[in-house]
Amino acid sequence: MKKVMVVMAATLAISLGACGLLKFLGLEKEPERPFSHLKHGKEQDLECQSCHTKAAKGAEAGMPVSLKKCMLCHEGIDEKQPPERKLAALYPGEKPAWSEVTKLPDEVIFSHKVHLDKKVGCAECHRGIEESASITEAVRVRKEACMGCHAERQASNECSTCHTAIRKERSPQSHGLSWKETHGKVVRLGMEDPPENRCSLCHTESTCTSCHRDEPPKNHTHFWRIQGHAVAVGVDRSSCATCHRTDFCDRCHQDTQPRTHTAAWGSPRNYHCLSCHTPLRSEGCALCHKSTPSHALAAPKPDWHTEGMNCRQCHVPGGSGPMPHPDKGDNCNACHP
C-alpha cells in the first residue's frame, strides 16, 4: 500500500511539474504584436487621440474601428509588406489583434474621460509607451502604478473605487462555508498568489491573530476540551501547533483535575492504583505527575515472604492476607519490593 501511494504521489508530482514547466516555458515567448508607438507617436508626431478617439468621451480610449484612417498613410507602405504583415492581417475584426493586451476585466471601473478631465496626461499612466516598438505585456498599466498615483493625488485607494466585485464588504466566492477549514492551504502559497486573491486586500494581521488565538476550530467541542483532544494529540500532535504551544497545554494540565479524579480516585480507596503499569507514563498519568511514581512505593513485603511465593494465595478478598485495594491482575512486585 505504501509503495502504491508513493508511486501515485510521484507520478502526480511529475505530471504537475511537467505541466508547470511547459506552461512556464510557453509564457516566455509572447505573441508578436507589431505596432510601434515609437514610430507612430514620437517619429510621426501623431497625438494619442488621433487613434484613441474615445478617450475624452468615455470609459474606453478606443481603437480605430476600421483601416480607413491607417490607410491614409499606409496605402503605399502596405503594398510592399508580406501578407502576414499587411494591415488587414493585423486587423482581423473591428479591433486590432493586440487589443486584448490592455483589456480590463469586466468588473473593473475605469474611465479615460474622468482621468483626462482631471488633467491626467496619457503618459502619466502609460509610461514609456512613446518608446515602445511593439505591443507587449509591459505596456499594461499595473495596479501598483494606479494606486501610487491615487495616493499622490489624494484619490481613494479603496477597492470599491475601481472594482464592482472585489470590495471589502463582499466576500470572494472562495470564502464559502468550508473556508475556515481550507484557507490555510491557500494562504501557505504566499505572495505569488494572483494579486486579487491576496489576503491583505481585505484582512489585516488582526484577522489572523484573533481567529487563531481565540476562535476554536469546529471540532473543538466541549467533549474535545474535556477528553477528546487527548485522542487527537495521540494521533497527530503536529496539527495542534497551528494555534497552541506547549505552555498552553501545561498550564491547563497543572491546574485542571481530570474527570476521573473524583470519588474513590485518591486515598483511602486509591482507585488510581488500578491504572498503574510499568512504566507509569504509558497510561498518561505522567501528563501531570511528572515523577514516577509521585509517592513512596507501597509497603514492602515482610521479610518472611520468599521469592516465588504466589501472592494471590492469601491476598484475595476474604483471604488471610490484607487486600486494601482491588486486584487488577498486575505484578505485585512492581509496587511492593
Binding site: G17, C19, F24, D106, S174, S206, G228, R245
Partner: protein
Amino acid sequence: MRRVWRGAVRFAVAHLVFPGPFNTTRGGCAFRVRSGGAPASPLASAASAAPRNLVTGWDGARSRESRVPSRESRSPVGGYPTRDSRLETRDTAAHHLITLLRAAVVRAAGRKTMAAGVGVLWLACSLRAWAAQEPAQEETPKPAPEKPTQNEYFGIPVSGTFSTKYRGRWTSEDRDQDLFHYLSVDFGDPARQDVTGHLLLRATQDVDGDRNPDEFFAFTDITNTFSNRNNGRLYYAYLDVTHAGPLDLARAGRQFLYETPALFYFDGFRLDSKPCAEVKNLQVGLYGGVPVHMYESSAGGDLLAGAYLEAQPWKGAKARVDYARIRDDYLFGTQRDDLWGASLRQSLGEILILHGQYTRLEAESRDLLLRANFYERSLDLRVDLSWYHLYNSQKILSIETDFFFSSAFDYFPYDQARLLVAKGVGEYLVVQGGVDVRELDDDAKEATFNREFRRFYLTPVFSNWPVPGLSLSLTGEAWEVPGTDNGDIRTGGFDVSHAYSPQLKLSAGVAYALFKYDFFANLERERVRTVYGKITYKDLNGFKLDVAYELEHDSLDDFRTLKVGAAYSF
C-alpha cells in the same frame, strides 16, 4: 412523533417525484421540463462562461450578469413532466407503474402522516415558489468617494475594530458566563506613510467566578487558570518604519515572525534591509528580543535572536537561509537551541510553486519539507502535494521548537505525505478532498502519542445554489490508526448558510464526531452530536451583530452555548 415525520417526508417526496393530484401548475409548484429537451442544469449552464475562480477567490473576468443566474437557467435538475406531458404518458406502462408506486407510498404513510405530509408538501411548494422568484437585483455598486473615508487624527489615518462578546454555557449541573472584549487598531496608511503602528488586545471577564478548584467543572478552560477573574492579553503592538535609509523595514514591539523555520512570537525588534538589485535582490534581516509565552508564569531567562539571508537567484526563485538562537527557561531547566533553516521556492509561471525547506537543530538534522502547489485558474483546480520527514527523536526543547514533550513525551521520526485536491465544478460547486498518510520510521516505537495514521476528508460546497445567496456544505473526515481502532476519529457535518441580503445572513448546521480510544484497557466509543444556528447582521456603517446558539450532546452531558457579539469597525 418520529414516525409521523418520517411518513410525512415520504409522502412529500412521493408527490414531488411522481405525478399526482398536488402537482398543479398553479402556485409555482411545478417543476417544469423545458420543452424539447432535458431540464437546464445550473451546473452545466456556465460551461462556456468566462473562467471561474471558486477554489481560491475572485473571478474578475466575469460580468455581474453572468454571476447572477437567469431565471431560465435556474431550473432545477431532474424536473418531472408538466400536466400536458403527463397526458401523453397516461397510457403507458410507465404511468401505471408510477401510479402503483405512489399509491403504495401513500398507503404506508397512514392518515396522520398524510396530514403531516400535506403540510410538508405545502412548505416545499412555498419554498419552491419563493425560490422561483426573480432575485432582488442589487443596486449597481457605486465607486467609493474620492476622498479617503478613514478617520484621521493629527493627519494620521486610524482604523480598526472594537468588539465585545458574551458567552453563556450551561449543562444540567454547571453554568458559566464570560465576556470578551477586543480592540484592534492600525495607525497610519502603509501606502502613504512610512511610519505605521498596529495593535491588538483582548480583555476577558469571568462573570460567574468563585468555583471550587478541587471539583470537576464542565467549563474549565485556560482563563480559569489565572487567579484574577479579569484578564488581558496584548497579542501584538508594534511600530513599523519603512524606507528608512538602507532599511526596508524596522519594527519594534510585540510581533510575530512567520517566515522563519519556526513561528517566533517575541517582544523586540526586527530589521530588514532593502533588497539589493545588483546582487540578486539579496536581503538581510536581523531580529531579537524576549519570546512571548503567554501561559508561562515568568519570562525570566528567555531570549531569542536570529538572522536571515534571502535572495532571488534566478527567475521565479527565492532562496533563504535562517539562523536562530533560542534560550528558554522552562519546566525542565534552561534549554538552548540553535536552529538553522534553508529553503528554496520556485514558481513556474502562475500555476506551479515548488517549495523545499530543511532545518537543523543543534548538530542534528531536524526535518525536511517538500511541497508542490498547482493552481490552474482556467480549470479552477488546485492540487497541493507535500512530503514531510522528521529525522530524529525530538525530546526536551525550547517552547518555540517543542513538540509538546511535557504532555506527549518523545516525538519519534516519521514520514508524512499529504495530498489535497480542490476543484470547481460548474458555477456553483467546489469539491475539496484529500489524503494524509503518516508512517513511523520504526514501527516498534508506535505508542500512545506516536501513531501512524491515514486521514481522508471530502467537502463539497455549493454556493449560490439552488437559490442565490444560499450555501450548502457537506463534510466528512476519517482518521484511522492502522491495525487497531484505538485512536480512530470519524467526523461529519452539514452546514447551510443563506445571505438574505448583503447585511443579513443566517447559518445552521449539524455535526457528528465519533472517537474511539483506549484509556484504561477498555475500548471506548464516544459520540458527539452538535447542532447550531447563527444570525449575523452587518450594516454599511461598520457595525456587526451576531447571535449564535449551539447544542452539543454526548455521554458527558448536554452542553448549551449562547454567544452574542457586537463589533464596530472604524
